[in-house]
Amino acid sequence: MSSLLHVENLGVTFETAEAPVHAVVEASMTIEPGQRVGLIGESGSGKSVLARAFMQLDSRRVTRFASGSRIDLDGRDVLSLPESDLHHLRGDVVSMVFQNPMHSLNPSFKIGTQLRSVLQAHRKISRRDATGRIVDALKAVDLPGAEQLVHRYPHELSGGQRQRVLIAMAILCEPKLIIADEPTSALDVTAQDTVLEIMIRLSDEQNIAVLMITHDMGVAARFCEVVNVMYGGRIVETADVRTLFSRPAHPYTAALLAATPDPARAEQEFRAIPGTQQSRLGVSSLACAFVERCPFAQDVCRNAPDMVPLGETHKAACHFAGELPLDRATPSP
């Protein structure tokens, strides 16, 4: 079975007035059909840029892809597709759910009109059939009163309802992949739960692969089968969710897990990772992305490590992968 998405050595650089920003460096990842994959990392680690590159959402005028970069999506070589073909890809093969549902729907158009425009961008479909399909999609995301909802304006809906409308929009054309960029961060806990529940069910029922971008370990643990950890523009570790949480191999992953508050041990201090992420403005660094903050850093870390395979799906970009005394019980020094 061939992969739905295969990304190899992807480098994304933004040309700015001052200097180029190396947002993503040598990233490789794979998503199988129907698979739920996580992309976790702190703000500015390059997760969104990486995911947006899959559908070429950032303007090509200011974005440069490193030579040797490759994105294969559903048998298409995305980086060589002309802009006019990308419209067929977006919303049809791959769609996206964004972070802020309050700003993601056009305030001037009814829900039904907005959903229909997406459907009509990809399918030759009569108005009546379109409405039927839209009502089905709204029902699939558990929105009650779907028939009336199409006549409503976005401001008449709550944040959780709007996010469900946006998920309905994302599944409207039966895509193979949905990129979900922190879809729950702007929602309250109850709505978060509903949205995750719906996305898991849709992924299972319709065999839709989902790339879940999040910095919430709880969301990753609950939702994903495989998790990619990103830091400083690089993917530093990939593992199935069980392995990642029990036996992390990269010092950054371990520190990230240790920084997650554990309600069972409320008395403990909040363990932040010391230092800050390095700027990626200017010349691209050859060192390991985490070298400045890593408690185990050695001279050899001045050269970026390759991905070290550790198991069937487990690999980590660390010179000492598998050799360091890392696990959740060990607090990061």
Partner: protein, 316 residues
């Protein structure tokens, strides 16, 4: 109850304030209408009686507060009085002149809106391109150049150096459509240039702002084509507020019409008002200002009404 009545109360309050301010400022301005009416002979001894006659006939000899009272009562009963200078009813004079001004302003708006919408939206779409920079530069220039100067340039080129177009006068649309167009072309262009400048800049800002909204990115991520994104979706977001701006600009346009009508010799409301002011024709000035104020307020209410209809969120 109070909320539904509020717009009407506001309407009458503004009307009363304007009417009163005009009444007071006219009487504070130097120049005696009776003297102006009699012309150069007014200083002679034998016409002093005439002067008193005129003052009595037009009620100018009464205390100002009484004049004000009579004036308000007349307005309420729909009587704007007769012109001091021509003795014709003010209402009739306004009714003759108003269509010229209405046509002038309406045509300017109809010409300016499509141009401004196209230029503003495309400039915002290709932001910071040479095209965008040119459009914005020209729009600023169009806004900044005074109408009377453009008007005179046009006159000089199209009507004096060449005789392609008439320099002055007016022909009613119903009687002579071609003549109407020939007389209107230069005045409309002059007034529209200013409006294109203002509106282009407004549409540009609104569209540039809209295109940066999250929902546009979402539509893009869903495969909506750029053209439909701009002209179908972003258009409604960024053009709805333009209705309000056009409403506000009506006042400025009437001011512009005064100048343009004078330059091109159009017998419109602006010219009527200007001559009435110069001749201290109190009833006519008051009548013109009243008509213009009512028009401006009504058009702004209309603009607000349309805006509320198009913007579902403002409707609540």
């Amino acid at each position: 109850m109070l909320r539904t009545a509020a717009p009407y109360l506001r309407f009458f309050l503004i009307l009363w304030i304007v009417v009163t301010v005009v009444f007071i400022s006219l009487r504070l301005a130097p120049g005696d209408p009776a003297v102006l009416l009699l012309g150069p002979t007014a200083g002679r001894q034998d016409v002093a009686e005439n002067l008193a006659d005129i003052r009595e006939r037009y009620g100018l000899d009464r205390p100002m507060i009484v004049q004000y009272g009579i004036y308000l009562t007349d307005i309420v009963t729909g009587d704007l009085g007769n012109s001091n200078r021509s003795d014709r009813p003010v209402i009739g004079l306004i009714a003759t002149a108003a269509p010229v001004t209405i046509n002038l302003i309406l045509l300017s708006i109809l010409v300016a809106i499509p141009i401004a919408v196209f230029l503003g939206m495309t400039a915002a779409r290709y932001r910071n391109s040479p095209y965008d920079i040119t459009v914005r530069g020209v729009a600023t220039l169009a806004m900044a150049i005074p109408s009377f100067w453009i008007g005179l340039l046009f006159l000089n080129f199209f009507a004096i150096s060449t005789i392609w177009l008439p320099a002055s006068g007016y022909a009613p649309l119903s009687e002579d459509p071609l003549g109407f167009l020939r007389h209107m072309l230069l005045p409309v262009t002059t007034l529209a240039i200013y409006l294109v400048g203002t509106l282009t800049r407004f549409v540009y800002t609104e569209t540039a702002d809209t295109l940066e909204q999250d929902y546009i990115t979402v539509s893009r991520a869903m495969g909506i084509r750029p053209r439909s994104l701009l002209f179908r979706f972003a258009a409604r977001n960024s053009l709805t507020p333009m209705i309000i701006v056009v409403g506000v600009e009506i006042g400025t346009l009437i001011g512009g019409a005064v100048i343009v009508e004078e330059v091109f010799g159009l017998p419109g409301l602006g010219r009527l008002l200007l001559n009435a002011v110069l001749g201290r024709d109190y009833p006519l000035v008051q009548g013109c200002v009243l008509a213009i104020t009512v028009a401006v307020i009504l058009l702004n209410l209309l603009a607000e009404f349309i805006y509320r209809r198009l913007n579902p969120q403002a409707a609540e």
